[in-house]
């Protein structure tokens, strides 16, 4: 392992070489490249704001749902629906709302972008908080109660730490989700006008529109660098740190921890010295937090009644605002969508079927390559050491950023614009689906207990029999969890994939995503938009409830490997 300086030196040399090379070959691109760091900062800032909002929301929502039985009766189903709704379904209405509210001011669009990223991040985080709070061991709760932990102290010492592992795990997931939607939402056309907010996403999209190969490559390169850098300095240390907050089993026996959804971070350098400097720099924040919380504890315990009154007042205020917002929203919706069914509403069922077939095709391709590759990587950790990082760099790139590359590739393969559009759509869906499958399956294969493998080997199970009796059954649970996430991501990718602005000729793909885009951006037909969103929600929810959940239930009963 090299020290920090060694790594930095290599990195610096690489960056300088690439920069000089680019400047010589494409002088124009070099000039434009100078603005990229700034654009990266803009994009990242949007992500950070949306993430912080999601964090606050997730903790508040999850905590309330877990501690307030009466509220949870409503809160859980609502969260369940929100979680399965394709996030981009929120985008057109949100866009209309924010653009209208700010009368086209750029600030409104910034709000819309941040809101979209927020919706892509917060639901699973809230569920994570709820799940971890409702699975706190009974004895630990009893200990907290009998030693008198109450209010803020109980939250600080019991509830919040208990939620950390799942919160961090879901944050990593949410963060990569966020990139996908950030890139998709930085530039769009509505009301006959193109709105662009400066950022990496709009940079790549513009480069794609003007067939600027160097620009596309530069944009994607910078994006990859930003994503990987954040993984290295933020998510990896966080996920290592969160291990400390995992519950132990009562038996005291060492139980191997459940395999992560992502096999990520294994190969990233840890930069120990840099981390220490960073920790030293943020230590005052932690100390201030501790001092503040001690003071808060004291306030809580000495003014219990005042605190309760403040909370009641808070609640009343919240209810009033909620009532105002909801009634305004309902009024607006009634006004907007009051009218006869549009003539092309009949196309929705056909569109739903063709969207589904597109997803199924991409899913089939993804399964065909991920199962053997996952089996190989999972069983040969040594020889796959060099493959994993490459796969991860690809996986870290949001499919939306690869849009220009994928379209170019599709056009290169097929000459007719229609077929190329179809191929590009399937490829985009494939790129947003396959990584969930791959990394889940790898974790599944790695999770096979050594004993089981030894038994199989000692009885001479080999080849097809080994696959049928050991490998495939062991993969089933992780295949299903991966499939659920993959299909969710696939539905999200539909809106991007079925309406690609820089394909030659009018994009003509029949599908729900296409209908939604046309209704929002071309015909401004709000009734059609609402109907399409509802159709999509109905399809996704029924697939989840009728196919995935029952399968997962049966699989986890039959194939779960107990350690």
């Amino acid at each position: 392992m090299r020290g920090l300086r060694g790594w930095l030196r290599i990195l610096a040399v690489l960056v300088i070489l690439v920069a000089i090379g680019t400047a010589v070959v494409f002088p124009e691109a070099a000039v434009r490249g100078l603005q990229l760091p700034l654009l990266a900062i803009f994009s990242t800032t949007r992500m950070v704001i949306a993430y912080l909002l999601s964090l606050v929301f997730a903790i508040a929502y999850g905590y309330t749902a877990a501690t307030n039985k009466r509220a949870s009766v409503i809160m859980l189903p609502v969260l369940d629906i929100l979680q399965s709704v394709p996030i981009l379904g929120f985008f057109p209405p949100a866009l209309l709302f924010f653009v209208a509210a700010f009368q086209g001011h750029p600030l409104g669009i910034e709000f819309a972008v941040v809101f979209l990223i927020f919706t892509s991040m917060s639901w699973n985080m809230a569920f994570g908080v709820y799940e971890s709070l409702s699975t706190i061991p009974v004895d630990l709760e009893a200990a907290a109660a009998s030693f008198g932990l109450r209010g803020w102290l109980r939250f600080r010492l019991l509830a919040f730490p208990a939620a950390i592992p799942k919160l961090v795990y879901n944050s990593i997931l949410s963060w990569s989700n966020g990139w996908f939607f950030l890139i998709a939402s930085e530039t769009f056309t509505a009301f006959g006008q193109t709105y662009t907010r400066p950022g990496l996403g709009s940079f790549i999209a513009n480069a794609g529109l003007s067939n600027d190969t160097a620009g596309i490559a530069l944009g994607i390169g910078v994006l990859a660098a930003v994503v990987l850098a954040l993984d290295t300095v933020v998510w990896r240390p966080l996920s290592v740190w969160s291990e400390r907050f995992r519950m132990e089993t009562t038996t005291g026996r060492e139980v191997s921890r459940p395999p992560g959804l992502y096999e990520r971070f294994r190969w990233l350098p840890r930069f120990p010295r840099m981390r220490q400097t960073f920790l030293a720099a943020v230590r005052p924040i932690g100390e201030a937090y501790h001092r503040a919380s001690v003071r808060l504890d004291r306030v809580y315990s000495s003014h219990r009644r005042v605190v309760r009154e403040i909370r009641l007042l808070d609640l009343a205020l919240f209810l009033v605002i909620l009532f105002l917002v909801v009634s305004a929203g309902i009024l607006g919706l009634v006004k907007l969508f009051f009218g006869p069914l549009p003539a092309d509403a009949g196309t929705i069922p056909v569109a739903a079927v063709s969207s589904f077939l597109r997803l199924a095709a991409a899913y089939g391709i993804a399964l065909a390559w991920t199962i053997p590759v996952a089996a190989w990587i999972g069983r040969n950790p040594r020889s796959s050491r060099f493959v994993t990082p490459i796969l991860e760099v690809f996986a870290s790139l949001p499919a939306t950023a690869l849009l220009p590359v994928i379209v170019g590739f599709a056009l290169f393969l097929v000459s007719s614009a229609g077929a190329a559009g179809e191929l590009a759509a399937i490829l985009i869906v494939l790129f947003s689906m396959q990584w969930y499958l791959l990394f889940n399956l790898i974790a599944g294969v790695r999770g096979i207990p050594g004993d089981l493998d030894d038994v199989a080997r000692s009885f001479g199970l080999r080849g097809a029999t080994y696959w049928r009796r050991v490998l495939l059954p062991a993969m089933v649970p992780s295949l299903l969890t991966g499939s659920i996430t993959a299909w969710g991501a696939g539905w999200n990718a539909l809106i991007v994939s079925e309406y690609i602005p820089f394909l030659p000729g009018p994009p003509r793909l029949n599908g729900l995503g296409y209908l939604m885009d046309v209704a929002t951006f071309v015909t401004h037909d709000n009734t059609m938009l609402l109907l399409t969103i509802l159709a999509m929600i109905a399809v996704v929810l029924s697939l989840n409830k009728l196919v995935w959940r029952p399968l997962l239930k049966r699989a986890s009963a039959k194939y779960r490997l107990e350690v």
């Binding site: 630990l140 009998s146 109450r150 730490p161 400390r244 009562t250 005291g252």
Partner: protein
């Protein structure tokens, strides 16, 4: 005359499922005074742990009452501390922070907390592990932390819910002797101990008085005064006499 430390008055507990009543405890009544070491024994599923949860105020009885120093019991009563079968240590807190838990809830200043915690960490023989995390300790050491945490709030009554049953036999026996040693020192808390167990031998080895519960619903079969001299010898016929008597009561 002052009231006894703890009064359990005709406590019954039922669970209701689909309109059907499942009785877990039926009219349990006993008292605890200062310097009492009482064990509740019974077959598994007789509601021993439920009884203990009711006694410390974590559960409500369906009927009956639990009085502590003449007042109805409350879960956060700082005079009562609890030791758990599963240790129930907070995995994200160090040993010192775990031991300080109850003191922190009482709002004691940090320096005082640290001093008290240090004293009890020493008392259970864990000096040197102050900054370790629970997962780095063996089962026996974890339960020592649990005991130190309970003693640190200097309770009048110490309640233990099968404290030794997730430890290996050798560790469990060492820890039993250590607890009896701590108990023999009148300068250290608590003033009384109430322990729940399914191991009859363990109860005879440790308790002054044994309350025997029947299997579901838990009814009191007997209340026995164990007048064997301490330290007790498991090989003596009198010891075995007690064990056999309780055994025949339960079966």
């Amino acid at each position: 005359m002052s009231p006894p430390l703890l009064e359990v008055k005709n406590v019954s507990k039922s669970y209701f499922e689909n309109g059907k009543e499942f009785k877990v405890l039926d009219l349990v009544r006993f008292e605890l005074s200062e310097r009492d070491f009482v064990c509740v024994v019974g077959p598994s599923g007789c509601g021993k742990s439920t009884l203990l949860r009711i006694i410390v105020g974590l559960d409500e009885p369906t009927s009956g009452q639990v009085l502590f120093e003449g007042q109805p019991i409350r879960a956060d009563n700082p005079q009562v501390a609890m030791v758990f079968q599963s240790f129930a240590l907070f995995p994200w807190l160090t040993i010192t922070q775990n031991v300080e838990l109850g003191l922190e809830a009482q709002g004691k200043p940090p320096e005082e907390r640290r001093k008290i915690a240090q004293k009890f960490i020493e008392a259970v023989g864990l000096t040197g592990f102050e900054n370790a995390f629970p997962r780095e300790l063996s089962g026996g050491m974890k339960q020592r932390v649990g005991i130190a945490r309970a003693l640190a709030i200097e309770p009048l009554l110490l309640c233990m819910d099968e404290p030794f049953s997730s430890l290996d036999p050798l560790t469990a026996q060492n820890l039993r002797d250590e607890i009896l040693q701590l108990w023999a020192n009148p300068d250290l808390p608590p003033k009384a101990v109430l322990m729940v167990t399914h191991a009859i031998e363990e109860a005879v080895y440790m308790a002054d008085r044994i309350i025997v519960l029947s299997s579901r619903p838990g009814r009191m079969i007997a209340e026995l005064q164990i007048d064997l001299p301490r330290p007790r010898n498991r090989k003596e016929p009198e010891f075995y006499g007690w064990v056999d008597e309780i055994y025949s009561l339960i079966v």
